[in-house]
Subunit: 112 residues, 2 copies
DNA sequence: CGGGCAATTGACTTATTGGTTAAATAACGT
DNA sequence: ACGTTATTTAACCAATAAGTCAATTGCCCG
């Protein structure tokens, strides 16, 4: 699966988005991440595996804890993709057309 | 499924993203949308159904053609979500923290 | 009317997802 | 070494996704 698809797929689950929101406040262990949810710990563990595969989190071991922290770079790529379409909903159609012409090579970082 | 999840899920497929890219250049019928892909017409029809359910496209009938056009509003919502995290990857952590406080009043403070 | 193009629907297959419980692994603190 | 805590893995299940081909629907036109 390509990187952008993996990112969007990872974000398509509210539990995973909630986990990212929690991690935005700082590193946390699996058990703590699981607390707000009614699902089992293995289920959370799998969600974390998905987030890690999409490179949205990184993990490190500290004694018996696996600490997770947010890696937001893939989100930047997704934001770039959406930014192109912002030109559409803002009515700057030709600008989007130009972006899409170039979008085959590579997308670049920018700010909204 | 909530709106944001539906949007991200719809975007998590490269075929669907390519269809949106094509539609950004203007309305098109199903047959024309299908041309660049090696998959069958029913498969494309199903992708369009997903995009429509996510409200990323609208359809209208013109004689024997079903014309599709881009509706970018749901993308704006997704972009808003990502924008919050842009504060993270740009290093403005406390700004993101404030955003998340407002967005998810329910989340509890980290103790560790 | 009947033929043909456009698109969808139906029936089916296969793979993936998200969840479960139970067992295994790993590190800690006696 | 032992029991406790933290987390993952294994095995399984139900639902969904993405594709196929065949049949159907809807519309146009000679």
């Amino acid at each position: 699966m390509d990187r952008l698809s993996a990112t969007f797929a990872a974000l398509a689950d509210p539990t995973r988005r909630a986990i990212l929101a929690r991690l935005a406040k700082g590193e946390a262990a699996v058990g703590e991440l699981a607390k707000p949810f009614s699902i089992s710990l293995p289920a959370v563990s799998r969600h974390l595996r998905v987030l890690q595969a999409a490179r949205l989190i990184e993990r490190r071991v500290d004694a018996q804890w696996r600490l997770c922290r947010l890696r937001a770079e893939p989100l930047a790529q997704a934001a770039d993709w959406l930014d192109a379409y912002s030109r559409f909903w803002e009515g700057r159609f030709d600008s989007l057309a130009r972006y899409l012409e170039k979008t085959q090579p590579k997308s670049r970082r920018n700010k909204r």
